[in-house]
């Protein structure tokens, strides 16, 4: 094997072919190809359907932007449904962050030595089956469920007269989604608060500011990147949600994802379905770009 010059710098090491086995291309070929073929191309096929280049039935109209323009002008029910889903996801994300913040604060700054055990206790439910957790709420809130049947048997309500809004409503969907995402979001907030320089808090204190002032002027602003990340971490999966609404939402709790799902499975209008699907991807993508930039800027500012 040919000897290269004694390498002191990483750069020379990288340029030596023998040193960089396996080659970068060889390493990346399989994962990148897998994603290209089974992730990017499927999305391109969706794009093709959305403009009628591809179609479910050979008799369909051919290339057109009809469904795009109808959807974007708001002439169909779907735009209203989209905004309703946005409102629901925003509500869920807001509640989750409000619940998770004191939790993260407690674990990172107050709990002391036991904090990892206490954190684990919060995260364990997140590791359990998603369907199971939704199922649990169905069992609890259903019209013959735990709460209502308890009320019947305690004589507080007439049998057959359940509290109607407990299940198949927007309330239920929001409650269940909050339940599902709280453990997950405690994590980024915890990490941000834990990495705070505690000497800053003490300095604020020593300078005579009371705890609330220190919190609002120092701790909270410094933890904003974690809060923003947490918000996005909940918002993105909930905006495309369709399983939870279909199990506990009924017609009132229907979300955008349900419309997409039913257009492909029951309605068989793949063109408008593709329009909605691609629009959702675009919304999520733009959101990621904005939040990515925001988070990076914040990181630079705080060093």
């Amino acid at each position: 094997m040919a000897e290269t010059a004694p390498d002191v710098e990483g750069a020379t090491r990288d340029s030596s072919p023998a040193r960089s086995w396996p080659g970068t291309l060889g390493l990346l070929a399989a994962p990148v190809l897998w994603l290209a073929v089974f992730f990017l191309i499927p999305l391109l096929v969706v794009a093709g359907y959305s403009v009628g280049i591809l179609s479910l039935f050979p008799t369909d109209a051919g290339a057109n932007l009809d469904d795009w323009s109808r959807f974007l002008r708001g002439d169909s029910v779907y735009m209203a449904l989209f905004w309703k889903s946005i409102r629901m996801s925003l509500t869920v994300s807001l509640i989750v962050v409000i619940l998770a913040y004191p939790l993260g604060y407690f674990l990172a700054l107050v709990a002391g030595k036991r904090k990892y055990v206490l954190l684990l206790l919060i995260i364990v439910p997140f590791l359990t089956s998603y369907l199971l957790r939704v199922l649990a709420w169905r069992v609890i809130l259903g019209s013959e469920g735990v709460i209502n049947s308890f009320l019947y048997s305690a004589g507080l309500r007439e049998p057959g007269d359940p509290i109607a809004w407990l299940i198949y409503s927007q309330f239920t969907v929001i409650l269940v989604l909050v339940y599902v995402w709280v453990p997950f979001v405690a994590l980024p907030i915890f990490v941000t608060l834990e990495n705070l320089d505690s000497s800053m808090l003490e300095a604020g204190n020593d300078l005579g500011a009371n705890r609330w002032r220190v919190f609002w002027r120092v701790t909270f602003p410094l933890s904003l990147p974690g809060v923003a990340a947490a918000f996005v971490f909940v918002f993105i999966p909930t905006i495309g949600e369709f399983v939870t609404p279909s199990l506990v939402g009924g017609t009132k709790g229907t979300m955008f994802g349900n419309a997409i799902q039913s257009l492909f499975t029951a309605g068989l209008d793949w063109q408008i379905g593709s329009v909605l699907a691609l629009f959702l991807v675009a919304v999520v993508g733009i959101l990621m770009l904005i939040s990515g930039r925001f988070l990076r800027l914040r990181n630079l500012e705080t060093g």
């Binding site: 619940l99 407690f106 089956s129 069992v139 013959e144 049947s149 709280v182 997409i260």
Partner: protein
């Protein structure tokens, strides 16, 4: 003086923590109680204690079949995802190349795709493929286990990278250099030095991918064809409200198994990594 909270504040925060723990565990506890309740209906008042729902599981062929399908899908898809994840992590951590930022965005992008969109995308891709293949060659790709595996590999891949790459980053390249200086060729350095040091992270990544796949409903609901995975079976039973106590019982078993598995391997991983200490 404690800067983070006053004694009253500390108590308040702790109370809040306990309330949230209650909120998180109560529904799961309710499920467990009803899995031992001697009634077909999941309603109050409780009738009596029984373990028959657990016994009936062993006779439920459809359920066992669904669990088997999910185990196979999860085993294969997480194996592939971890393999691809090791390759990608190694390239991202140990190599410098043009287009690295784009590559990293591509590798992590499945994290943010709504599963409903990815599910339908796979569905119509394979429809289009079959529309092309059938009239020309008389063969077809179809839907089923293989497509579920393909989809699960895509969504698990970023998780395996996020598990393996940080470990590789902490693992000093000096160890690899030392092996090479001692005369090991690059291939045996990778296989005999780098990989063994990565084993704890690889095991974590495999488990994460396995649980993700085993529990995944949304993608499978579009591309499973006439195959039934465990989440699909569970969903169907929940909707038609038949055999609910049995479904709860099997969920409880799966739940306890996954908790033990996850906690166990996490402890094992920490120990292993501190023992390796590189």
């Amino acid at each position: 003086m404690d800067a983070a909270a006053s004694p009253r504040g500390r108590r308040g925060l702790f109370a809040f923590y306990l309330l949230l723990v209650l909120f998180l565990y109560a529904p799961i506890a309710v499920l467990m109680i009803f899995s031992f309740n001697d009634s077909r209906l999941v309603t109050f008042p409780l009738v009596g204690f029984t373990t028959r729902w657990y016994g009936l599981l062993l006779e439920n062929q459809e359920l066992i079949e669904a669990l088997k399908v999910s185990a196979i899908v999860a085993a294969i898809s997480s194996f592939l995802a971890v393999g691809l994840g090791i390759l990608a992590s190694y390239a991202m951590v140990r190599r410098r190349f043009r287009g690295k930022a784009v590559t990293s965005s591509l590798l992590l992008s499945p994290l943010v795709i709504p599963y409903v969109v990815f599910g339908i995308a796979l569905l119509i891709l394979f429809r289009a493929v079959d529309d092309f293949l059938i009239p020309r060659f008389g063969v077809f790709f179809g839907l089923g286990i293989h497509v579920v595996v393909i989809g699960h590999v895509v969504v698990s891949l970023p998780y395996t990278i996020l598990t393996i790459a940080p470990r590789l980053e902490r693992l000093s390249s000096k160890v690899e250099e030392a092996a090479r200086d001692l005369g090991a060729n690059p291939a045996s350095t990778f296989i005999r030095v780098t990989l063994p040091l990565l084993v704890p992270a690889i095991v974590s990544a495999y488990l994460i991918a396995f649980t993700l796949s085993f529990d995944e409903y949304a993608i499978a609901s579009f591309v499973a064809g006439d195959v039934t995975t465990y989440p699909l079976f569970l969903y169907g039973q929940v909707r038609i409200r038949i055999g609910l106590p049995q479904m709860i019982a099997v969920s409880v078993i799966v739940l306890l198994l996954s908790m033990v598995l996850v906690a166990g391997t996490e402890i094992w991983r920490r120990r292993a990594e501190s023992r390796l200490a590189v």
